[in-house]
């Protein structure tokens, strides 16, 4: 009887540890870091682009600071609209403010007719501009940049 009692408690704790293990392995998945570490992701990206290709978009200033979105080749919409990839909660952003899209191996930013404009580093974006790694893009109070 003593054995079964202790055994059950051990199993209960094993369940807790297993759950925590799932949590640990999942920690980076939601932030987009782990997704880029998956074998499937790595292979397809390596073959498509060089090793210095941007892999994620990071918000460096503003209310959403720290948000990361992993780039998978699909365009990224930024604005206050609910269906944007990056939903901004900012009085200075427009409903559809800007779009980041990939052409060839490079990412381009274009302004979607926003009221207050989009800035790449210091320059106002009027036509699609190529976005180098680590260059700040300013949208309202939010600053984002691409990282590898």
């Amino acid at each position: 009887m003593q054995l079964t009692r202790a055994g059950f408690l051990v199993l209960l704790w094993l369940f807790v540890l297993a759950a925590l293990r799932v949590v640990r392995s999942d920690l980076y998945a939601a932030s987009g870091l782990r997704a880029s570490g998956l074998p499937g992701f790595r292979r397809s990206e390596k073959s498509a682009r060089g090793s210095k290709a941007p892999r994620q978009l990071v918000v460096t200033h503003g209310a959403l600071t720290g948000t990361r979105i992993s780039l998978d080749g699909r365009p990224i919409l930024i604005g206050r609209a609910d269906d944007s990839t990056l939903v901004l909660d900012d009085d200075f952003a427009s409903t559809r403010h800007a779009r980041l899209s990939m052409r060839g191996t490079d990412w381009y930013v274009e302004d979607l007719g926003s009221t207050n404009g989009t800035y790449l580093d210091r320059a106002k974006v009027t036509a699609p501009l190529r976005v180098p790694l680590g260059t700040p893009i300013r949208i309202g109070k939010t600053v984002i940049e691409l990282r590898s």
Partner: protein, 490 residues
Amino acid sequence: MGSPVPAGEGSPGASAATNTSPGLKAPTRRGTELVMLSFAAGLVTLALILVELNQERSLSLRILYLGLAYLGLFACAHLAVRRWAPYADPAILPCVALLNGLGLVVIHRIDLALEGTVFPDGSTWDPVAFKQVIWTGIGLLMFAATLKFLPDHRMLARFGYTFGLVGLVALLLPGVLPGFIAPTINGAKIWLRIGPLSLQPGEFAKILLMVFFAAFLVSKRDLFTVAGRRFLGMDLPRARDLGPLFAAWGVTVAVMVLQKDLGSSLLFFGIVLVLLYIATERAAWVVLGLGLFAGGAVIAWKLFNHVQQRVANWQDPIARYDMIGGGYQISQSLFGLATGGIGGAGLGAGRPEMIPEANTDFITAVIGEELGFVGFAALLLVYMVFALRGLRGAISVRDSFGKLLGGGLAFAVCFQVFIVVGGVTKLIPMTGITAPFLSYGGSSLLANYILVALLLRISAAARAPQRVAKPKPQQPAIADQHTVMVERPK
């Protein structure tokens, strides 16, 4: 890149399911969930076997079938998740399955202990474990239905005010209705009796009001932040922004006075405060709210007899052991916990019949007696993992409504556990409230399964890869068109 290996990928079934195509596909981790669910079902079956052994009942294949049926029930829930929310969090459902299963086993165990007991009024104990199994089934149905009919949690925000009104009515209804529909049970007037069915509308109101508050705060948050910017350096919110807080406080007090239900009022007020705090990130709200609550609590204590009783029972339950409405319940619960000690008496080997209300408010005391501190701590950690995953989903979801609602839902479960376990262990005055997923009670179980479905929906939205935005032809509005100089023809 030394990325950690997912727990489920060690087993063949999981690895096949988590990463089927090598293309651009984020892992859904449904395989991991299934493995964890099987683990939970195994634990629950083992718990049932231990109870039957310790109660010296004959073991039969029936138990195995029960365990398999339990696994089947949650496998259906798992399939529902797989179909309607494939990217949902893999840790939430197994935690719920374990808690609910252990709750069922303990309720069955209390049935065994109370079997054949004749109460002073001549009635005998009516086994409730089977009813709870049916409630679990209905709860899982509601869970699947919520996932199916709510493909996007942002749909809820549209009905914010409707939900708020319905929730408020549901919360206050039992307090104002006459006694034959809303009977007073154990001093609290929180039930509605319709025919043979007893409902606790407050459990559902909890979720409805959370949806309302999240939607309300999201739509008004811009206002809050703009105002905050204008009053730079001024820590306190403006007087007219205090309206919602005062309204919530008023409802809380009404619940306390009309229904004599301390637990729900505390829970409700805590949820409102946390939602306000998450929305505004200003500690001033919490300080103000706690001040208000403290004031209200002191006034309630001065005015109402039942509050004074609860507080006196909390301060010294053993001195008031023999009084009517005295410290008997808490004393018995403390005796039970003391008997359990570190390692517990063993499942089925304790004496839960000594603890009053053993299968509802004091079910955690029974678990503490039979599993001991070690098992009880593990159980609280399971709750913690559940809340952790809920909060994680809330952090990573991209819309503010989802963030607020997810945070509020996860916090509500945590806070409810705190209130009930705090009461049972004499940390805070005992207030009658159910332990989520463990206690016997249909309304509580149904409401909590809807809550889990909402949390899964939010986590699925957070973890799903981005949808391809359809390239819409950009037609700037006429107001946004550049001004063009039209030259007058000469």
